[in-house]
Amino acid sequence: MDCSLLRSLINRYCAGEENWVDSRTIYIGHREPPSGTDAYIPQRYPDNRIVSSKYTFWNFVPKNLFEQFRRIANFYFLIIFLVQLIIDTPTSPITSGLPLFFVITVTAVKQGYEDWLRHKADNAVNQCPVHIIQHGKVVRKQSRKLRVGDIVLVKEDETFPCDLIFLSSSREDGTCFVTTASLDGESSHKTYYAVQDTKAFRTEQEVDTINATIECEQPQSDLYKYVGRINIYQDRDEPTARPLGSENLLLRGATLKNTEHIFAVVIYTGMETKMALNYQSKSQKRSAVEKSMNTYLIVYLCILISKAMINTVMKYVWQSDPNRDEPFYNHKTDSERQRNTLLKVITDFLAFMVLFNYIIPVSMYVTVEMQKFLGSYFITWDDDMFDSELGEGALVNTSDLNEELGQIEYVFTDKTGTLTENNMEFIECCVDGHVYVPDAICNGQILTGTVGMDMIDSSPGAGGKEREELFFRALCLCHTVQVKEEESVDGIKKGLQPCGKSSSVYISSSPDEVALVEGMKRLGFTYLRLKDNHMEILNRDDDIERFELMEVLSFDSVRRRMSVIVKSSTGEYYLFCKGADSSIFPRVIKGKVDQVRARVEHNAVEGLRTLCVAYKTLAQDEYESVCKQINTAKLALHDRDKKLAEAFDVIERDLILLGATAVEDRLQDKAADTIESLHKAGMKVWVLTGDKMETAAATCYACKLFHRNTQILELTTKRTEEQSLHDVLFDLSKTVLRHCGSLTRDTVSGLSHDVPDYGLIIDGATLSSVMKPTEEGSSGNYKEIFLEICRNCSAVLCCRMAPLQKAQIVKMIKTSKEHPITLAIGDGANDVSMILEAHVGIGIMGKEGRQAARNSDYAIPKFKHLKKMLLVHGHYYYIRISELVQYFFYKNVCFIFPQFLYQFFCGFSQQPLYDTAYLTLYNISFTSLPILLYSLIEQHVNMDILKRDPSLYRDIAKNSLLRWRVFIYWTLLGVFDAVVFFFGAYFLFDNTTFTSNGQMFGNWTFGTLVFTVLVFTVTLKLALDTQYWTWINHFVIWGSLLFYIIFSLLWGGIIWPFLNYQRMYYVFMQMLSSGPAWLGIILLITISLIPDMLKKVICRQLWPTSAERIQNALKHSKRDNVSEFSPHSNLKTSKSKSSEHRNPQPTRSGRLSKKMMCTHWGGNDYCTFNSFFSFSDSPHNSSASYSDRGSGLETSV
């Protein structure tokens, strides 16, 4: 390496101070470099202590309290509690202090315990022994004492204690194998390479003599990115510089496998390791329900404040008469009298606030959180979402979004690995227009392909033969596949070949490459291994050919191609390049471009993934200049990627086209069915893919995203080349809107077959020009038109998308004026950005690692599980949580409103209506469990029906159960009930007695009567709402009522020595001993429940929702044929059903047809009945329609 370049580089970096801090210099083994090298500013590095704990012993109490009181509920409680402490308030501070104390303590203990565990784990990690080299000897040290620059020795199966640069290995070729399961979940073995110049230092003594410095960037969180440079000082003064990349970097958390030991130097320690940097929490996502919950809370806060204000004003109006303010029987103390009026007003206001504070259902937060946390277990437990192949079920990474799953309007899905299996199979290759199909060759024949194909017989001319073999060799060489011998297999096996001679396995991060190499093997060229930088190929004649691997121009998603430069045994340099057709064709100068292009397009339409292969030969000097270019770029510390890309761009030019390959990626199981269901559920499905348009479109047809009668609108570069973007957009919007004008939107987005629905295809380039702001500022306009078009399309396909563009699209839809709820689903690292961007991000535990699953909110094994996730779980959770929220507001209105009314009868003196115990326990124990249980297990419609009838999902779309109308209804119902409780009791008590011994009741009996009615009404209201009565519901509902009674008996049963008042003594029992009290309670409960019941019945009868229609229909069918749909018999019946359906026409009975109707009810428009009637009247008719649709199920292109 010429030193002047390095010098100039260093000088450049030294020039700017700020640049210098961007990188760090590490002396390996703390060995000072020979004098004369540039001085550097010494930096302080943290020690290798990992601190995942949040608290220390000293700061636990203040920090934890601060953390806890940052939550709105706790803070509100705290304020109320403080107010109660400071001023003289009607309720004792215990009423809010006790629950607060309880919640805070429990949370603190839990967090403390978790933190203690973390401390323990940290200590275990920090103190675990590591071996470092000091003065040529191996020394044991605690992990936390590692410092940057130390040389460590890591043995097999040990975990790396910090981020290391790989110096040398016990393996001869200077490689080692590593699993990064704890980092990104990929359990496959990855190969890392030791630094070229140090890999010869094999023993500790040798290693200790290494005299080198490493310059590298400061730590950053990207696991797969690393740029650095090592300067090795050998005997001479001039150092040798080598680039360092992520292939030299061993990350903390990864484990060494299949390698006896390695030596490596510490570069990042402690909290600066990439693993620690990656533990930063993701931004919080909040669900729509939570947002409306907060809005309602604000409304209730306003109600609370206005109530307190009304009462304060009324109090002073009422008190203006001194005989009322201070009658002879009720004097104030002197201090009260002398108090400042303003202070009095404020105190009174606050006292009223405290009295009514329960109207803000603080316990709702706790309940909602518990519901979400516990409820999410049903997702992980779900057997239907368990994939036996993977051995894993669904994963819930955040439980905050459960109900959001029921609100999805837009689904953005990745194609590869999500809709498709990402299980590649080599289908064919095409060399100069000759098509080779491996199986056919294997059988000794050549398949006579499709008609019209340019096909030459199996023995082409000599030139052809040569080209053919070159092509095969190219594919055998141009890849990054590793070969793993059978004996060392303990990772996941990928692509074990069935008929090969040697028992080796190909491993690669890209399944396409494995498929290609395997395909080559079936065509006679077997890639054996990479040994001493020589790739070995077993050719058709069972001869081993060796090529020296000179350079790998690795794949990236921008270039969409990769190349290798190899030197054949005869000394020729070859560059082989393979990549997407769009990135190869422009670079080709020779070859049968037209034939190959035709074949590629043909394959793309079939939905196959195509790659083109090209090559060029390099002369010695050419190679050297190439080498130089690449090394220059590789040594750059800054913008290395850009420089590399530029270098590659120059190198990969003037290629000669060899041919193309086709690899099939099969559709996932039931992908089409799932997409159809999502469509029926009213969701818009967008496919975002990096694939080329034809391939993607074919997949979209196959998975029913587009139907045959879908009118495809294209917004692609092809079109925008002919017309300006402006015109195209306006044309399309005109087309779409013309139809829209005559039809309501619902039917457009629906599935009615007579209406042509639209599908839009857009590609990345056009998209960016649509989104790009132009000078005239008309971009907003384009965006609007584009959104308008999208809104009217049921399906959109975006192809040729870069990862960031996916996120852009999601963001664009998310922020469009309707603010729809979006869901993004994907499996690969390229989907992470959109998964993070969307309201709900779902990761598929795919073959491309766990990146997506780790960053998602939910992870599922297969795309088909999305159906159950949304249609069943999402639906249930939404129904449950919306009831939970509304019910909580309702029950607290019922609770507090009587107290408000009571102020009008007690001189606005803030006298509480209920006893302290009742005030405290109402939300905590008397009414908490039934709603929690309801919100965990309520099912209004059986899950099989939800799955079968996706249109039920539309019932709850757009947050329909938490609209203002519903909220106001619940609140008014609460007010009505409160009025009934209060005035019912008022008239019962009105100046008379209702005991048979003539004795009178006091104010506490009055309050207890109201409270008893309240608890019963509120619980029974929930019982009326419950539509799924399991034994747990029975237990909890009746149990909590019983608990209330037992508690009241106990509470009033004895003189409690620790209380300074005994006002509840025998109050409850005396009340129950009076007959009219019983009658009154029954009467009031009945009156409170009737309106709601009436509303429910009438609404169900006159304006039923589709879910209610289904229920009605089920009920009728049940009457006819008992418990057909009960969950127990479900399994059995569905089995028998399926057997019946095998030969549907003759055996279809009346009973069956009735069932069919049930499942079909509530389609997008309710006129489906008609079609059904005709169906049951004339079976052949329907069977015809069946076969019609049936054909649609198969690949339609």
């Binding site: 036996s388 599935l751 100046n991 007695t993 009178m1000």
Partner: protein, 378 residues
């Protein structure tokens, strides 16, 4: 449309079948348990509130409530109640003089006699109440102004009453027993009832003062200090009487079982009323003889003996806040005193339910058929 649902069904069957058989072999550790609870398939009763199911309920409620209501209403109507207002606002009223602060001297209690006539005889036990209105016994400052442990006989609370009793906690540096505003404002008009025989002579109607307070209050919640009901003077040594009282608490009655904190009038007063207009049980008039009604029809006199408030210098003063004082004589049924509300409410609710039942029936017949017809083709 048809066809796709068809597929879904078929797949369902296969899926559940596969899960059942294949589950055992593969990945047992991570595989979720296939319990009914975890799969959300617990057996459940799924009631649906439709017009059809609710209909009978409404009719049944109607049929039950209306008779109950009628019964309650009749019972309430059969209760005899007589009420007399003796506030003395009207100058013509016999009590006018006594209620004027300045007109009576403090040595001799003021007595006023109000004659009244009972048109009907009261056959069963009669309960005598006094009623106050506009009196806010439920005012917060008032309600809490008591010390329950003092009233329960706690020795330490006797000498140092709770702070809640302020400003009725101490007087002359001595603790007040019983302390607090409630005790201080004990109702102290004495009511006596005379029957005027046809021959013109007055005979005292015997009023029984035991049994007007809750049994538990008298026997458990209220106790004299030390549980000693006899030597009360000594027990209350060192305490002061409430400022408004003329006599200390241990002179409320001569009967040791009804004196001090366990005086029933006192206990009754200490149970604060729920609403500003209230009545409290004052005396019982027991039926002695099955042959003679408890109170015959005829003329009576109500004698009200006022005990003046030392500080206020007046009768039990309610006029300043537009209060009223009443005396009520009432018989009692099993459902308590006269209160037509419950009966009327039951009848109303019963009829409304019945009416709603009819409405629902109509709806059910008219609109229910629409749904039902849908399931039967043709």
């Amino acid at each position: 449309m048809m066809a796709s649902s068809y597929n879904a069904k078929e797949e369902d069957g296969q899926l559940s079948g596969a899960a059942g058989s294949g589950g055992v072999g593969a990945g047992k550790s991570k595989k979720p348990d296939n319990t009914a609870f975890k799969q959300q398939r617990l057996p459940a009763w799924q009631p649906i509130l439709t017009a059809g199911t609710v209909l009978p309920a409404f009719f049944v409620i109607g049929l039950i409530f209306i008779p109950i209501g009628i019964g309650l209403f009749v019972t309430s109507n059969n209760i005899k109640e007589f009420e007399i207002d003796y506030t003395g606002i009207d100058p013509a009223s016999p009590c006018y003089n006594c209620s004027q602060t300045l007109t009576w001297n403090s040595t001799k209690p003021c007595v006023c006699k109000i004659p009244f006539t009972l048109e009907q005889s009261f056959e069963s036990d009669v309960f005598m109440y006094y009623g106050l209105s506009n009196f806010y016994q439920n005012h917060r400052r008032y309600v809490k102004s008591r010390d329950d442990s003092q009233l329960n006989g706690d020795a330490s609370s006797l000498t140092s009453p709770s702070k809640e009793c302020e400003p009725y906690r101490t007087s002359d540096n001595k603790p007040i027993a019983p302390c607090g505003a409630i005790a201080n404002s004990l109702f102290n008009d004495t009511l006596t009832l005379y029957y005027i025989n046809p021959n013109g002579t007055e005979s005292l109607v015997p009023l029984q003062k035991k049994g007007i307070a809750w049994w538990t209050d008298k026997n458990v919640k209220f106790r004299n200090p030390g549980g000693n009901n006899f030597n009360l003077t000594a027990v209350f040594q060192g305490t002061s009487k409430p400022v408004n009282w003329q006599k200390p608490v241990y002179e409320l009655d001569t009967d040791p079982e009804n004196n001090g904190f366990i005086n029933e009038d006192f206990i009754v007063w200490m149970r604060t009323a729920a609403l500003p207009t209230f009545r409290k049980l004052y005396r019982l008039i027991e039926k002695k003889n099955n042959m003679i009604p408890t109170l015959q029809r005829g003329n009576y006199t109500l004698d009200i003996t006022y005990t003046h408030f030392p500080i206020q210098c007046s009768d039990y003063p309610v006029r300043r806040f537009d209060g009223r004082k009443r005396m009520i004589l009432s018989t009692i049924s099993w459902m308590g005193g006269k209160n037509p509300f419950l009966g009327i409410a039951y009848i109303t609710v019963g009829s409304v339910c019945f009416f709603l039942g009819v409405v629902l029936l109509i709806i059910h017949q008219k609109y229910g058929n629409r749904n039902n017809s849908a399931e039967i083709p043709n």
